[in-house]
Point group: C2
Chain length 379, copies 2
């Protein structure tokens, strides 16, 4: 086991009707920025419930935060924050709204006139506006960590930052608010959570049997409840378990004390930046490819994973079972499924990573050349 520091101060309020708790959680005298996405919360009752719970507090609305939230959008929100002396940020939505709000929170306290450096150069974030969340899309785990990913379409960039100052003070998780999600978003969320676990698990054995089993617990549960919550979206039990899985998949716990990979995410971010496919879609395409080129380095963990999660023998079989699991959720696993030319992707990503001198994976083995190899495998 590796040495680690673990702290996660976010308060999770989980269950039916938990939006009501906003009144106790948001400071009474707060000026609240209510940030949301495409407006689905205005049709499913969440918006009304939030406003009711916030009661007499001054609320400044900021809607229209897009999937893969855009830097320019965050700057607009930042202006609203400054113009209205907003003191508390409330993200109502999924990971994109949360990530945008984290960046806005950090940028609001950032001294440098160019907040893009928080992402491009990991300029240190020394404080941030407080933020909370009402999560309506289980997927990214952003509701209980200090990380965010922001995009800049003008330059096809998608970059992340992390800070202890942007953990949500609280996150409200009411599974019933997710009943009206389109099946595609639920599918994406299941795959996103599943791959988050793998980034912290599927590396090499490091004498951390508890962390291994905690990770496998989430994988097993996603394999169990994923198809059932897609098939019966208004059934509370599977939806609640899926939601809690997604949070625990990326709240820091399962990665504490173990090596981490993240190559799939780094490659996936670029596929989204260049070709516009959904984040989870990019992950489902890339993950089996990372495993294929790292088959020997990852063999021991792949075998353990196959045996414990799917009850099958062999590293290759574990990769196959994973692809079948994704497809069972109606999730494509090939670049061709999106009309993306693998050779084009291989060339573009190799060039970008070479320029940034990036190499990924738990041992830094995913060089720009191997990224190209992975993408060609995923044609």
């Amino acid at each position: 086991m590796q040495d680690f520091t673990y702290r996660n101060p976010t308060q999770i309020c989980f269950g039916r009707g938990s939006i009501q708790q906003l009144d106790a959680l948001v400071p009474k005298d707060a000026v609240v920025l209510l940030a949301y996405g495409g407006g689905s919360i205005k049709h499913n009752g969440v918006y009304d419930a939030v406003l009711r719970a916030l009661g007499p507090r001054q609320v400044v609305e900021f809607g229209g935060i897009e999937p893969n939230p855009e830097f320019e959008t965050c700057l607009c929100a930042l202006e609203a924050v400054r113009a209205n002396q907003v003191s508390f940020l409330l993200a109502v939505g999924g990971g994109s709204v949360l990530d945008a709000v984290k960046f806005i929170a950090a940028a609001a306290h950032f001294k440098d006139p160019e907040p893009w450096t928080i992402l491009s150069r990991h300029a240190p974030v020394r404080s941030a506006l407080p933020l909370g969340a009402v999560l309506t899309l289980p997927a990214t785990g952003s509701e209980s960590n200090g990380n965010a990913v922001i995009s800049r379409r003008a330059t096809s960039e998608k970059l992340y930052f992390g800070s202890e100052h942007v953990y949500p003070v609280f996150s409200i998780l009411d599974p019933e608010t997710t009943y009206s999600l389109p099946a595609k978003q639920v599918r994406n969320g299941i795959v996103d959570a599943f791959v988050h676990v793998h980034e912290q698990y599927l590396t090499y054995p490091d004498d951390a049997p508890l962390q291994d089993r905690l990770a496998e617990s989430i994988l097993q549960t996603l394999v169990e409840v994923g198809p059932s919550t897609l098939a019966a979206p208004r059934e509370y039990g599977p939806r609640a378990s899926f939601m809690w899985c997604a949070t625990l998949a990326l709240n820091g716990l399962i990665g504490a004390g173990v090596p981490e990979d993240w190559a799939t995410h780094m490659i996936g971010h670029e596929l989204t930046a260049f070709y516009g496919i959904d984040h989870a879609e990019s992950l489902a395409v890339v993950l089996p490819g990372v495993w294929a080129v790292e088959l020997e380095a990852k063999r021991a963990k792949l075998e353990q994973y196959g045996k414990r999660v799917f009850g099958i023998d062999g590293a290759e079989a574990a990769i196959g079972a994973t692809e079948r699991f994704f497809r069972s959720l109606d999730m494509p696993v090939r670049l061709a499924d999106y009309g993306i030319d693998a050779e084009d992707a291989a060339r573009k990503l190799q060039a970008r990573f070479a320029e940034r001198k990036d190499a990924f994976g738990e041992r830094g083995a995913i060089t720009p050349e191997r990224t190209a190899e992975i993408l060609r495998l995923r044609a």
Copy 2:
């Protein structure tokens, strides 16, 4: 799954040499109460390492906190806190030192002249002195929760309280500091952690497959590393996994959203209060008895536990495997092993619980009469 609120703000600093981090964790201008137990930290290097890390800070020493920490001892420490205007409490030791420090922290800010009411009447704790810990005995999980148990030998009482204000700000866990522990304390720690998991797991199925698997992860790991860390106390891997198991067994995570039992603990506390046996010893005696009298109500979970943790079929077999596991750690499982007369214990505990109108268990089924029945079964 039940609705829940979960928050755990304690920062865990885990690994070799982590005591050095004290300098960054304790405020520079703090007056520190250094609280410890019987003095073993003066022989194993921990005391020196702590003082070195605290550097020029003013340190007030308070040693001699006993196992099952005594109310009167806490009052003495409270005087030292007030006389020296202590601003930060540092517990160096195991769960007893931690629990005492939590009570001292709460009592220091308590307005009522009689702090015993925090325990006897659960008088609300509205604030507390900040506290941190250097954990040298993995067992109770007190390093990462807001609970404490305090005893009063004069009246054979052992009572608990809980407050969000007494979570340690940080806890330092260096597995190497536990190498010199006597085997009996390691054995006790393994059993304590194991039973903590069961109090939150072995109830009835409540459609919480992730929580079940997280709990089983800790149980499986304890079954795996418990015997090996007893056999090879200076081997880092198993000791580190045991230590992390003990923390996660009672940091609130596995109990979030599921029914909890705690009958074994409530009965065990009284056995310790009346007969002086160690906390973990009392748990190993009582747990199989609670399961025996609740066999039908708990059958489904016992079967699941037996299958997933021991790979065996049947509720009765699961109870037997648990007793064998305890005995494999050299832990007795019968009252007679301590020379305690079961009939005497049955009468005393039945009378005490009847007087307090106490009933325990996930459905309140462990009445005073059933407690007596359990103890007779454990003769």
